[in-house]
Symmetry: C2
Subunit: 199 residues, 2 copies
Amino acid sequence: MALDQQVIVSAAREILQQEGFDKLSLRKIADALGVQTPALYWHVRDRAQLYGLLAEQFLREVIAQTGLETTGRDWLISFGTALRDSHRINRDSARLVAFVQPSQTVEQEVANVILDHLEAGGMSRDLARIACSSMQAFTLGWSLFESNASVRPMMIGNLDSDAAFLLALTQLAEGLASVDLSFQQTNGTKPPPPDLFVG
Amino acid sequence: MALDQQVIVSAAREILQQEGFDKLSLRKIADALGVQTPALYWHVRDRAQLYGLLAEQFLREVIAQTGLETTGRDWLISFGTALRDSHRINRDSARLVAFVQPSQTVEQEVANVILDHLEAGGMSRDLARIACSSMQAFTLGWSLFESNASVRPMMIGNLDSDAAFLLALTQLAEGLASVDLSFQQTNGTKPPPPDLFVG
DNA sequence: CAATCACCTTAAGGGTATTAAGGAGAGGAC
DNA sequence: GTCCTCTCCTTAATACCCTTAAGGTGATTG
C-alpha cells in the first residue's frame, strides 16, 4: 500500500479508536503501516497537522450526517446531536479536537457550509456564527466532561446522560433561534443585545 | 523555600501562564524551583495529579468569585462568566482542564457547593446538575474555540467575542431555568422532558 | 548515641517528535 | 543506453519528555 496522507490519517484513526489518544503516536502509526517514523514527514508537516486532518475528517462526517431540517432551531439540534454522536462513536475525538489547531482553509470551508444551512433556515449570518460556535462549544465541552470518569458521576448523577444532553442542547438551540426571530421581526419578546460588533 | 505540593502547583501555574501548556513540563517546574525533577515525585504522584491540582485551584477561585445571586438564572450566568474570565486570564487553562482527570473527592466537594447554590436559588437538584454541567461544558468548549487561532476568525468573524459569549450563555441559562420553573409550577410553557432518569 | 524517617540526589530506562543526510528507484532528456 | 533529476523512504542523530530505582544527607526520635 503506497504511503499517502489519507492512508496515514486512516491508520491514525484506527489506533485512536483502538488504544485512545494517550497511546497515539507517530511511531505507532508508522509501525502499523510497516514504515519508519520519519517517512510520515514526507506526507505530513508534523504531528499537529496530522491530528488536525483527523479532526477535520470527523467534522466533515458530522456535517454529512446532519439532516436537512429547514428551521434554524431544528438544524442546530440536529447538528449538535450528530456532533455528540461522533464524539461518542469516535473514541477520544473530543480530546483530539481540544488538542489540535485545525487548518484554517478547511475550517473556513466547513464554516461556510454550516452558515449557509443556517441562513437557509432563516437566520442572520451573524447570529448563525454565534449559534454554530455555541453548539460546537457546548457539545465539545459536554463530551469532554462525559468522557471524564471522575467528573461524570458528580455532574450527571443518576440521570440519563443522553436525555440531559438533549435537554440542555434544546434549550440552547431554542434560545439562540429566539434571538434570531427578535432580530427579524423587531417585535420579538427579547431585544437584541447591544454592542454585538467590535469597534 | 521548602518544597511542597502547593509550591509545586504555584510554580507550574507560573510556567503555564508564561509559556503555555505545550511548554509545561515537570523538568521545567523542577528547574524553576532549583531542584531535580524526581524530587517532585515525593510530593506529587505523577504529572496527571499535578495538573489536576492546578485545574482544581482554578475552579476553586471561580467559585469564590461567583456572586451570590439568588435566582438560578442569575447564578448560572454569574458562574459561567466567572468561569470564562478564569479561562481568559489563566493561559491555556481550558486546554489543561480538557487534558486532566481531576481528583474525584475534590470534584464532589465543588459540585456540592455549586448544587447547594442552585438549590437555594429554587432549582431542583437534578436540574441543577444538568445546568451546572451545561454551563461548565459550554464555557470550556467556548474557551477552547476562542483560544484556537484558526477557528476563531471563522466562527466569531468580526463580532465582539465577549458579547457573543454572553448572549449564548444567557440563552442557555434562561432556557435551563425555564425548565426548572416548569418542573416546579407544573403549568410552565414547556413540559418536562421524558425519561430523564436511567433505568 | 543509634536508628529511623523525610526529603532530595544521581543514575538509568524507555517513551516521544523532529531534523539531517543518504540511498534506491522511476521517469524523462538527449 | 546513459545521465540526471525528482520522489519517497531509510538510517542516524538530536533533544526533549515521564517515571522508577537506588543511594545519600540531615533532622528527629527513642
